[in-house]
Symmetry: C2
Subunit: 375 residues, 2 copies
C-alpha cells in the first residue's frame, strides 16, 4: 500500500441530469459518484429538462444543487433556439456558456448562422461589461464551451476569433479536430480543449464488445484518432469525463425490445482517475499530467476558485478490476467494467472534512457549494 495525496480533481464536464431526468442521476447521486472518483468539483451541463437557458432555471438548478450536492458544483447556462441568449442577465452566475453545435442528447442544437453569431456577440458584449472571470472571482463570465465536431469546430473558432471570446472545445475525439486545434493554438487563437477517458482509452475496435454501452457523442473514434489524441497530448488542456448517465434499459441492454432511440452517453465520474493512474503506471502519463489537466487547467480555463484544505488520498498500489457493482451513479454501470486498473481513491477531504473514505460518502447532502451564486 502506497498512499499519495493529490488535490481534489475538477471534472469540467458532467451531466447530473437534474431537473427532469432524476431517475438517471441527481445532484446527490452524481456528486457522490464524483467523490468516489476523487472529484471535489464538477461543472454541470445545461441539457436538462427544462434546459438551463433562463435566469429562473439557473436559480432553480442552483437551489437544487445547494440542497443536495456533496461536492462543489458549477453550473453551465445553455443557448437554445427558442430562448436564444435569455441567460445573459445571469451569465456571471454560470461557470460558462454551453453551445451545442453538433448532435447530442436533448434538443439544444443551434443550427443557424444568425443565432450562432448572436450568441458569440452577446457573450462578448457581456464580457466587455463585466470581464472574463479570473481566479474564482465573483465577477466576470466564463468561456464559451462547445460541442462542435468536425466542420462545426472551425465555425466556433471563427466566431471566437471575431469576438475575442475564450473558446473551450469539449470532448475532442478525432485526429482532424485535435490537429486543427493545435494549429489554431500555434496561431495564437484563444482556444482550449478537453478529452474524455473514453475517447483516450476506447475506440471503434471496442464497439463489438461494448455494443450499446459504447454509444456516446462524439462517438468512439478510430484507433488512428485515439493515437492522434495521445500524439497531441500537449494540446489537450483538460481531461473531463462527459459523465452522461443513462440506465442500461434505456440503452437497450438486457431488455427484450430494443428502444427506438437509445440515448447516447456513458457514466465516467468513478472511473476517470483509476484509468488515468493506470496510464501513469503504463508510462503513458505522469502524475503532473493528471494534476495539470484535472486541477490546474480547469481552474484556469473557467476561472474556478481554489478549494482550501481539500485533497484526495489514493493508493497507487491497489490493483483491481472495475465493475458495475458498488457504483454511486444511479446508472449503475461503466463501459470500463472488466478492465484492470491501478489506483484506488481511499479518502477525500473537502475543506478540512473527510467527505469520503473506504468506499463510503460521509458528507451530508448540501455540504457541497454551488459556485458563483453571490453571498
Amino acid at each position: 500500500m502506497s498512499i499519495i495525496r493529490l488535490p481534489g480533481l475538477v471534472d469540467a464536464h458532467v451531466h447530473l441530469r437534474e431537473p427532469g431526468y432524476e431517475y438517471k442521476e441527481d445532484f446527490a447521486s452524481g456528486t457522490m459518484a464524483a467523490l468516489a472518483g476523487g472529484v471535489t468539483m464538477v461543472l454541470d451541463m445545461p441539457n436538462t429538462n427544462p434546459p438551463t437557458s433562463t435566469p429562473e432555471r439557473l436559480a432553480d438548478k442552483a437551489r437544487r444543487a445547494a440542497a443536495k450536492a456533496v461536492c462543489d458544483v458549477g453550473l453551465f447556462v445553455g443557448a437554445t433556439n427558442t430562448e436564444g441568449d435569455a441567460y445573459l442577465p445571469v451569465a456571471e452566475r454560470a461557470c460558462g456558456l454551453k453551445i451545442y453545435v453538433s448532435d447530442t442528447f436533448g434538443s439544444l442544437r443551434i443550427d443557424t448562422l444568425e443565432l450562432m453569431h448572436r450568441l458569440f456577440r452577446s457573450w462578448a458584449e457581456k464580457a466587455a461589461q463585466v470581464g472574463y472571470r479570473m481566479d474564482g472571482a465573483a465577477r466576470g463570465v466564463g468561456p464559451i464551451t462547445v460541442h462542435a465536431e468536425e466542420l462545426m469546430l472551425p465555425v466556433c473558432l471563427a466566431l471566437s476569433h471575431l469576438y475575442r471570446v475564450p473558446l473551450h472545445i469539449a470532448h475532442v475525439s478525432r485526429r482532424s479536430e485535435i490537429e486543427l486545434i493545435r494549429a489554431a493554438k500555434e496561431r495564437g487563437v484563444f482556444v482550449t480543449c478537453e478529452a474524455t477517458p473514453h475517447h483516450l482509452f476506447l475506440s471503434t475496435d471496442d464497439l463489438p464488445r461494448l455494443g450499446a454501452r459504447g454509444d456516446m457523442r462524439p462517438r468512439l473514434a478510430t484507433p488512428d484518432d485515439v493515437a492522434a489524441l495521445w500524439e497531441h497530448l500537449e494540446a489537450i488542456d483538460i481531461f473531463a469525463t462527459d459523465h452522461a448517465p443513462h440506465t442500461l434499459a434505456e440503452k437497450g441492454v438486457g431488455v427484450n425490445e430494443l428502444p427506438a432511440a437509445p440515448p447516447p452517453g456513458v457514466p465516467g465520474l468513478e472511473t476517470m482517475l483509476p484509468l488515468l493512474l493506470t496510464a501513469v503506471h503504463d508510462g503513458l502519463l505522469d502524475l503532473d499530467d493528471i494534476v495539470t489537466r484535472c486541477v490546474d487547467n480547469p481552474r484556469r480555463v473557467y476561472g474556478l476558485p481554489a478549494q482550501p484544505d481539500t485533497w484526495i488520498e489514493v493508493d497507487v498500489d491497489s490493483v483491481y478490476e472495475l465493475t458495475n457493482a458498488d457504483l454511486k451513479t444511479k446508472a449503475g454501470w461503466t463501459p470500463f467494467a472488466g478492465q484492470r486498473v491501478h489506483g484506488r481513491v481511499e479518502r477525500v477531504v473537502l475543506r478540512g472534512e473527510t467527505v469520503y473514505a473506504q468506499g463510503e460518502v460521509l458528507a451530508m447532502q448540501g455540504r457541497g457549494r454551488v459556485l458563483f451564486q453571490g453571498e
Copy 2:
C-alpha cells in the same frame, strides 16, 4: 441616344459547362453571351465533367477555351473528395481555387474537416513558395473562393485566418452571411465577397411567378435578406453573375414529365449590366459602384491583368424589355424575362478590335485569351 463608355466588365463567376455539358453551354456560346453583356473577361468554374481538379484537366480546359473563346477567360481549379489537392502543381495557372462546402450542381462538395484543413494548408504552402498573384503577374496564386452558405461560411473564415489565405465568398445571399462578413472585415480578416444580380433583384416573393426558373444555389432569399445586401453594399466587393445555364426542359419547364432532380442555376451574363444600369437609373447605385465591383475589385481580388484598349459602349437611354429571344447563351432563357431595363450594350472593343456591335459577335473564335497559361 446617350452613349457612355465603360471598361470591359469582368464576370468573376461563370459556368461555361465545357467539357461535359456542351449542350448547355460551351466556351464559344458562353463567351459570346459575355460580350453581349459587356463582359470582356470571365472566370470559369471547375464543376464541369470531369471537374477541373488535376493538371491534365486544367490543361485540357485551357486548350478548349483558347480555341473557342471570344473574350478572355480565367479558369478555376477545384478541390474534390477523390483527388484532393491534385491541382497544386498548376495552381499558378488557375485564377483561384474553388471549394464547394455547400450543395451545388455537380459532386464537388467537400464535407470533412480533415480535407478542408488540408486544402487551405496546402494552398498556403504553395503561396509561401510563389506568393499571391498581383496585377496580373504570371507568378503567384489567386485566392480561395468558396461556395459556403450559413454555418459553412465561418468554417472558411477560420481556415482562412489560420493560414492567412485570402478568402473570397461567392454569391452571398443572406443577412446572416453579409453581417458576418462585415464583422470579419471590421476585424481585419482577409475576406472579400460577391453578390449576384438575382440575389440583389429577386427574392422568395418572386418564386410563385418564376417556378423552376427561380431555382438556384444559394436559393433566392427573403426580402429581408435582399434588403440586407443593399444595406451592406459597401461590404460587397464584386457583382458577378454565377451564370449557370441549364435548358428549360432540364428545369422541368414546358415538359410533360417533371424531371426527378431539376438542376439549380440560372443564366446571367447577358442581363447583369442592364439590371445594374437600371439600378443606377433608379438611384440605387451609381456608375462608379458598377465599375468598382465589375472591373476594379475583380482585378484586385484575383490579381487579373488589365485589358488594354478595351472598352464597352452603352446606350444608357435605351429602355426595353428583357426577353428570352436573341440570347447568345445556349440556355436561351433568363429569369428576368419581361423586366423593363435601362441601358443596352452597343459595342464592345477588345484590345482595339470591335468584337461585338449591334447585337452581333464579330470576333473569331479563339480571339479571347486564356489567362495565366504562360507561353
